[in-house]
Symmetry: C2
Subunit: 297 residues, 2 copies
């Protein structure tokens, strides 16, 4: 039985009635598990996590895009998040009995259908990218919804599917395939977004930090604090504990404490193993020592 993970993000995290309406398309589907949906008011987006049959997930996501197009108008959208579409990104991740190649094909099929059904331009990213310079989502989404109106007309940024013109309210959508990552946020006991930015720069690859960290600052206005928000794109090589301890170390420089952290979506058990080893000094530990690993077989 093939299992894919899909983590669609849509640009509504404040109006919970709308959120419920949108995620309702994922409920009660045989062979598809709605693992979680996390509305984030500060980011004004919701991250949905799905596991299950690839084709059934694809069909449900198409329905979701229909609802987000109907309910979300990017012209009236603000939030801590470089968003570009009502449905912003849709990554597929191979989990069980699936190759990356199959995920790429799934992404392409979905992208094509979205552009045809809803007239929304689609960009392919990460492993599904047709063009190397479109690999990174951050490059695609630069300029956000507002900037995309012009950007998409540049032949370099014509979409992979659909016309070089944004959907007037739903913008554009990126569909991709990638390996599992860890979406990890660290909260600082400070309201100074500049400090969060400096710490993000210290740890992220693009500014000399860890090879597999993409990070940025964010304000959590309802808590009056700032956050270093990051993706650990290869948790086998850049461990959670290493990033966390480095952020604590950097924060000390500014006299600021780390309040805590959060994982968005799912974390593979393997990503936690090195942290357990580090903090508890565990020897001879591995995912196979965890009961649940053995129950999956």
């Amino acid at each position: 039985m093939k299992i894919v993970q899909c983590v669609p993000n849509f640009s509504e995290g404040r109006d919970l009635e709308k959120v419920e309406k949108i995620v309702s398309v994922f409920k009660n589907i045989d062979k598809v598990k709605l693992v979680s949906y996390e509305p984030e008011p500060n980011y004004n987006r919701t991250v949905v996590t799905l596991l299950g049959d690839p084709e059934l997930i694809k069909d449900a996501v198409i329905k979701m895009v229909g609802l987000t197009t109907e309910l979300i108008d990017l012209n009236n959208h603000v939030g801590e998040h470089p968003r570009m579409g009502a449905t912003d990104v849709i990554p597929f991740i191979p989990i069980k009995d699936m190759t990356m190649e199959e995920c790429i094909n799934l992404a392409k099929d979905l992208g094509k259908e979205i552009s045809q059904i809803y007239n929304i331009p689609v960009f392919l990213y990460e492993e599904a990218a047709n063009l190397e310079y479109r690999h990174d989502l951050s490059d695609i989404r630069k300029g956000q919804f507002e900037g995309m109106k012009e950007k998409i007309k540049d032949p370099r940024w014509n979409p992979d599917f659909g016309n070089p013109e944004i959907h007037q309210t739903a913008g554009v959508t990126a569909v991709g395939a990638r390996m599992p990552l860890v979406a990890f946020n660290i909260n600082l006991d400070s309201s100074n977004v500049e400090v969060a930015n400096k710490i993000a720069k210290a740890i992220r690859y693009s500014n000399g930090g860890f090879r597999y960290i993409k990070a940025g600052p964010a304000e959590i206005k309802d808590k009056g604090i700032v956050q270093v928000t990051m993706n650990i794109t290869n948790y086998k090589k850049t461990s959670i504990y290493r990033v966390f301890e480095t952020v604590k170390m950097e924060a000390r420089r500014y006299g600021i404490n780390v309040l805590g952290s959060e994982i968005i979506g799912l974390v593979p058990l393997e990503a936690l193993v090195e942290s357990m080893e580090y903090y508890l000094g565990l020897e001879g530990f591995s995912v196979n020592k965890v009961l649940e690993t053995n129950l999956i077989e």
Copy 2:
């Protein structure tokens, strides 16, 4: 599909040829997974971890007891372990679609068969105990193999199955049923067993320590160090990190560093969650955030 966990311990951890011969009975059984077997030379015992169909595991364990009886003579056995039988203890743990009651019945069936087939007296312990004062394994095994020759004649310590006379080479065996526990050892950078004993006393329930810790000292002679060896019998209430940090704190009192730790057998994911929360400051974390939990369903 019912799944039971069974963790038989037998008293050979040095002669690896014998160990292989004994564990071979668990290999290639459909619906039974030999998760691991860990020969421990210092303890001169091997801990086997099995998962699978209750009846098939029971049948395989009976074969194992036959082999340990044939291959192990407790009269010539030494090791850091209060052992009393060639097959020392056999606990059953309910994992999936199984009640504790069913585990108790399985333990009783197995105990009866062992005593009948091999003429080995059997004590029932923990949840399977017929008598309240036999609940704790440590009370049953007090006196070890050598002391059991007389102890078993005391009406208070007549076995639950079989005659009040030890098997001349295989001693006695304890069979029980219990909830999952965490077998956790912490290594100290010291060869002073008295210090390990003092730290064990500081953390264990019986001397005023944590409610769900059973602990003792052990010498790891091949490494020239000592160990605090423990069972965390309720990891929901006494967390791994709390015990680990307390042992570090106590060790400082003697100017001794903690070198590391090890988990023997399997650890339920749930037992790791609080430690992850503590060390990484995770908020909103739970077993459901881990990918593998969602794959089991």
